[in-house]
């Protein structure tokens, strides 16, 4: 990786952290419901850089955010959401059959699914699954919003 790429990736990590912080200021009304602003940066990296760099960005961001604003506990939720989300986004993008909007939607929904799976594992109970129908709805809405914004950024930002 040359210096320019490292610098760009560092910039995106910083941006992702700022967006995580901004989102942490919004009070949590229902657990799991959020806009997923950080996914904007991950989608940008996925489309404008490479899958490998999107992974690096996403994982570094998760660890740094957990160390800065979260705890060991929140790390696992973020990690599960981030890994499942990026894995599915990468595969859908590779398939060539989805636009950025569909990729973003899948990413948002998978983030929710990943977190519910961790909650079910932690609680050793299926009770958390009751949140899933609602989270699928809000995740779809969030994914579409982020997808629209992401499409504009991917197209227009000079980088």
């Amino acid at each position: 990786m040359d210096a320019k790429r490292v610098a760009r990736l560092g910039l995106l990590v910083a941006l992702a952290m700022v967006l995580s912080w901004v989102e942490s200021l919004v009070p949590v009304v229902i657990p799991g419901v959020k806009l997923g602003l950080t996914n904007l940066v991950v989608i940008f990296a996925l489309y404008r850089m490479s899958a490998a760099e999107a992974w690096l960005l996403s994982l570094v961001r998760v660890v740094l955010v957990a160390m800065t604003f979260g705890n060991a506990f929140s790390l696992w939720y973020s990690l599960a959401g981030a890994v499942l989300s990026l894995l599915v986004m990468m595969l859908l993008k590779k398939s060539g059959r989805f636009s950025l909007l569909g990729v973003s939607l899948a990413g948002a929904v998978c983030h929710n699914i990943g977190q519910i799976l961790v909650a079910m594992a932690v609680l050793r109970s299926a009770a958390a699954a009751a949140y899933l129908p609602f989270l699928l709805l809000t995740g779809t809405a969030a994914g579409v919003c982020i997808g629209i914004a992401g499409a504009v950024l991917v197209q227009r930002v000079r980088f």
Binding site: L123, A130, P133, F134, G139
Partner: protein, 122 residues
């Protein structure tokens, strides 16, 4: 950006999944009969919803206070970080639950309340 056909298929599938899961997991319309407390996957207590009482889940620290009153169950106090359990409010219908992730506590309503007819008959 052009929306592709598969985007719409995906959105339809996700929304359909949400609908199906909702129908499968929705709480019953009748009030439940028992409040079942599970900590770390193991059942620690089972209390009738019809009997008012206060139950302390956990020890001196890492506790949740469960109050059963007037046929509803609520976690009214807890020393966990997020207090999601307290904000969940009162539950009463079979299938509803209150979750405290930091303490791995699940409070769930199970079974059906004895109906008035049954009570009269017997």
């Amino acid at each position: 950006m052009k929306i592709r056909r598969m985007d719409l298929v995906l959105a339809a599938l996700v929304l359909a999944a949400a609908g199906v899961l909702y129908l499968l997991l929705r709480p019953a319309s009748q009030p439940g009969g028992w409040v079942v407390v599970t900590v770390d996957g193991a059942e620690t207590g089972r209390y009738p919803l019809s009997q008012d009482q206060t139950v302390r889940i956990g020890g001196d620290t890492d506790y949740n206070i469960l109050e059963i009153r007037d046929g509803t169950a609520a976690v009214t106090q807890a020393d966990c970080g997020d207090h999601t359990c307290v904000r969940t409010g009162a539950i009463s219908r079979s299938g509803q639950s209150i979750i405290c992730l930091p303490h791995k506590v699940v409070v769930q309503i199970e079974g059906a309340a004895p109906s008035d007819v049954d009570a009269v008959l017997g």
